[in-house]
């Protein structure tokens, strides 16, 4: 087992997540991309704990509370989406939804209403 490999692997996972957020076209893919950044953080915590501070409990505490809260937040978002699935305009979320889409109307002129 190699410490450097662990660090670089996590950085790759983080970058895959960031790439996925830019690349994804529908909301499910955006959620999938978010998971990579979370997994990267998760492995960072347990990896550092394993290689650097073997008797630390901080990482476990942080992961238990942090992951619980993050997934609860995501759970609430999905619940809301699930509940309002029939609302107009939600169809756009599954076809053309980019989290960082920049349009001219975002900063110049009116936005179509």
């Amino acid at each position: 087992m190699n410490f450097q490999l662990m660090v670089f692997f996590n950085l790759i996972l983080l970058l895959i997540g960031v790439f996925g957020i830019f690349y994804s076209r529908d909301i499910i893919s955006v959620f999938v991309s978010l998971q990579f950044i979370i997994i990267s953080g998760f492995i960072n915590f347990i990896g550092f704990s394993r290689f650097l501070y073997q008797h630390s409990l901080w990482d476990k505490i942080f992961i238990i509370s942090g992951v619980t809260i993050i997934y609860f937040l995501l759970f609430c978002i999905i619940y809301y989406l699930y509940l309002k699935n029939d609302a107009p305009e939600t169809e756009e979320l599954y076809e053309e939804f980019k989290i960082f889409r920049i349009k001219k109307e975002d900063w110049w002129g009116e936005d179509g209403i």
């Binding site: 087992m1 410490f3 450097q4 490999l5 670089f8 692997f9 950085l11 790759i12 996972l13 970058l15 895959i16 960031v18 790439f19 830019f22 690349y23 076209r25 499910i28 893919s29 999938v32 991309s33 998971q35 990579f36 997994i39 998760f42 492995i43 347990i46 704990s49 394993r50 290689f51 650097l52 501070y53 073997q54 008797h55 409990l57 990482d59 476990k60 505490i61 992961i63 238990i64 509370s65 992951v67 619980t68 809260i69 997934y71 609860f72 995501l74 759970f75 609430c76 999905i78 619940y79 809301y80 989406l81 699930y82 509940l83 309002k84 699935n85 169809e91 599954y94 076809e95 053309e96």
Partner: protein, 183 residues
């Protein structure tokens, strides 16, 4: 630790890293949502396997509960979406069309940005990592169990626990509020 045990752990480590990477890439690029989620779930299983290798198996069971709830809801949601597809969007020929040029740019630009960021981070970190002192493998292994964690949690971080519990209660009210409006 005997040589064979160490070898097994190293093997599991490499298998889970490779599995995580491969499943992750599949989950990212496959178009079918159900398969995408399947690969993502495999990713989480490999991450759980890694937590065993790094002596943090307790996290697989505690943090995994919330993940499971999230996955169940997401999977249900995707199933429902596929089952009740709107007539207009059900036809594959009528799917949202994106020009080929924009598709390619959509891959290349983020890839180049991430690759550049990755390269700079690699340059920045690699020198430092060589000097880091890593804990020896042969010493005593410390595997935290639930009583250690709960002791630490309740002595120092009871406030955090109170806030999280309170937020669950508030969310219950919110579930009611959003649901009531729907009727």
């Amino acid at each position: 630790m005997s040589f064979i045990s160490r070898l097994i752990i190293i093997l599991i480590n490499y298998i889970s890293i490779i599995g995580l990477l491969v499943c992750g890439l599949f989950a990212l690029f496959i178009k079918d949502n159900k398969r995408k989620l399947l690969f993502l779930f495999l990713c989480f299983l490999f991450a759980g396997l890694l937590s065993f290798v790094y002596y943090s198996d307790i996290l697989f069971f505690t943090a995994g509960i919330m993940m499971l709830f999230f996955f169940m809801l997401l999977y249900l949601f995707v199933l429902q979406k596929d089952f009740f597809r709107r007539p207009g969007s059900g036809d594959p020929g009528k799917e949202f069309k994106v020009p080929a040029r924009s598709k390619i740019l959509n891959i290349i630009i983020p890839f180049l940005c991430c690759a550049a960021a990755g390269y700079f981070i690699y340059e920045y970190v690699s020198g430092f990592l060589k000097g880091v002192k890593v804990a020896e493998d042969g010493g005593n292994i410390f595997i935290a169990d639930w009583s250690d964690i709960s002791n630490y949690f309740f002595t120092n971080y009871s406030l955090v626990l109170i806030i999280i519990t309170a937020s669950l209660f508030m969310s219950f009210l919110w579930f009611l509020a959003v649901k009531a409006r729907e009727k």
